[in-house]
C-alpha cells in the first residue's frame, strides 16, 4: 500500500472511531473492513462520516456523490479500502499549484 493510502487509512480510522463513539468496540479497521457488517455503521453514521471527510479534504472528495452512485447492496458491503481508493483518486485529480 502506498504511503498516501496508509495516511488516508489512518485518517479514516480516526474519523470512524469518532463517528462510532460509544459503539466503537475497538475492532481493528483495515482496508477490508466492511462498513456495515464489520464496523456496524448505520446510515446516519455514514452521513456523519461525510461531514468529517468534507472538513478534512474539502470539495476535492465528494463522498455523498460517491455513495449515492452505489446501489443499496454495495452500500451495505462498502469496504474501507474502497473509500480510501476513492479519496486517493480524488486527491490525485486535484491540480497542484
Amino acid at each position: 500500500m502506498s504511503a498516501d493510502r496508509t495516511d488516508i487509512l489512518s485518517d479514516i480510522d480516526a474519523m470512524l472511531r469518532a463517528v462510532l463513539g460509544d459503539f466503537d468496540d475497538g475492532v481493528e479497521i483495515t482496508m477490508d473492513s466492511t462498513f456495515r457488517d464489520d464496523l456496524g455503521l448505520e446510515s446516519l453514521d455514514v452521513v456523519s462520516l461525510a461531514g468529517r471527510l468534507q472538513a478534512r479534504y474539502g470539495d476535492a472528495v465528494n463522498f455523498a456523490q460517491f455513495v449515492a452512485g452505489l446501489d443499496v447492496a454495495s452500500m451495505g458491503e462498502l469496504r474501507v479500502g474502497q473509500l480510501v481508493d476513492h479519496i486517493a483518486g480524488s486527491l490525485d485529480r486535484v491540480p497542484t499549484r
Partner: protein, 256 residues
C-alpha cells in the same frame, strides 16, 4: 453534528450547497419511525445539489440524531419544525420545492396547506396528503412495528423506543388535519411516485381528486422502500420534473 434550535428542541440538520448556477431550494423530508435524513443524503441529495439546488435536510423530531421530546408528535408539530427551520434557521425567502418520502410527503402537503405561497412544488414518494384514510393506514403500520419483538440493530431498537416511550402513535392519529378546502388551496405542481407493488398507491385517486394538477407515476416492481431500492428510477423521474416545473414557474404560466 449540525444542529438547529427551533420550537424548544434541537434538530439535526444537514445541507448540501448548490453546484453551479443556483436553481432554487429543495427541502427533503424523511419518513416516520425508523427513517432519517440519511435516506435522502445517501441517495438523491447529491444529484439535486449537482443540478444547482440548495438542498436542506433535517431529522424529524424524535428521529435520527434530533431531540426526542416527551410529547409533541402531531402533524402540526412536524409542520411547525419545517416552518421554523425555513424562516429562522435556513432563512429561505423564496418558494421552495418540498420532497417527502412516505410521511415526509404528508408533512410537505401539511406545510403547503398552511403556506401555499411558500411552496414552488411538491414531490411525494410513496405518500399521501394528510387525509384520515392515510393516517389510519399509518397507525396500523406503527402498531405492527411496535409489536416487533425487538433485537436487531441500533436503528430497530431506537424505533421501538420511539413507539413505546413517547405518545407518538396516539398524538399522530389524533392530529388536526387540513380541510379538503385547505388541500385544494395547494395549486403548485405535485408529483407523486409510487411503487407498483406497494398498497400506498391505492390512495392516489384521492390525492388526484383533491389536487387535480397531480402527476402520478408508478415505478414497476417498487415497494414502499422505493427511494432506497429504485433510486435511479426515482431520480430520473424527479430531476426532469423539477426542471420543467422551474421553467413554468419562471414563466408565470399556470400549473397543470
Amino acid at each position: 453534528m449540525n444542529t438547529a434550535e427551533v420550537n424548544g428542541i434541537r434538530l439535526h440538520v444537514e445541507e448540501l450547497p448548490p453546484q453551479g448556477p443556483a436553481r432554487g431550494t429543495a427541502v427533503l423530508l424523511h419518513g416516520m419511525a425508523g427513517d432519517s435524513l440519511a435516506s435522502w443524503y445517501l441517495t438523491l441529495a447529491p444529484s439535486l445539489a449537482a443540478a444547482g439546488m440548495r438542498v436542506l435536510m433535517h431529522d424529524l423530531r424524535g428521529h435520527g440524531r434530533s431531540d426526542r421530546p416527551p410529547r409533541g408528535y402531531a402533524l402540526g408539530h412536524f409542520v411547525d419544525d419545517v416552518a421554523a427551520l425555513l424562516d429562522r434557521h435556513w432563512s429561505v425567502d423564496e418558494p421552495v420545492h418540498l420532497l417527502g418520502n412516505s410521511f415526509g410527503g404528508t408533512i410537505a402537503f401539511g406545510y403547503a396547506a398552511r403556506r401555499p405561497e411558500r411552496v414552488a412544488g411538491i414531490v411525494a414518494i410513496e405518500s399521501a396528503p394528510p387525509v384520515p384514510a392515510w393516517f389510519d393506514r399509518i397507525e396500523r403500520r406503527l402498531a405492527q412495528a411496535a409489536a416487533f419483538p425487538g433485537g436487531g440493530g441500533r436503528r430497530v431498537r431506537d424505533t421501538l423506543a420511539l413507539l413505546r416511550d413517547t405518545p407518538i402513535r396516539a398524538e399522530l392519529h389524533a392530529s388536526a388535519l387540513p380541510t379538503p378546502d385547505d388541500l385544494a388551496g395547494i395549486t403548485c405542481p405535485v408529483l407523486c411516485l409510487f411503487g407498483g407493488e406497494s398498497a400506498v398507491r391505492q390512495l392516489a385517486p384521492q390525492t388526484e381528486a383533491l389536487m387535480p394538477q397531480t402527476r402520478t407515476v408508478v415505478i414497476d416492481g417498487g415497494r414502499h422502500s422505493l427511494l432506497l431500492e429504485h433510486r435511479a428510477q426515482v431520480r430520473d423521474q424527479i430531476l426532469p420534473w423539477l426542471r420543467d416545473t422551474r421553467k413554468s414557474f419562471a414563466e408565470g404560466t399556470s400549473h397543470g
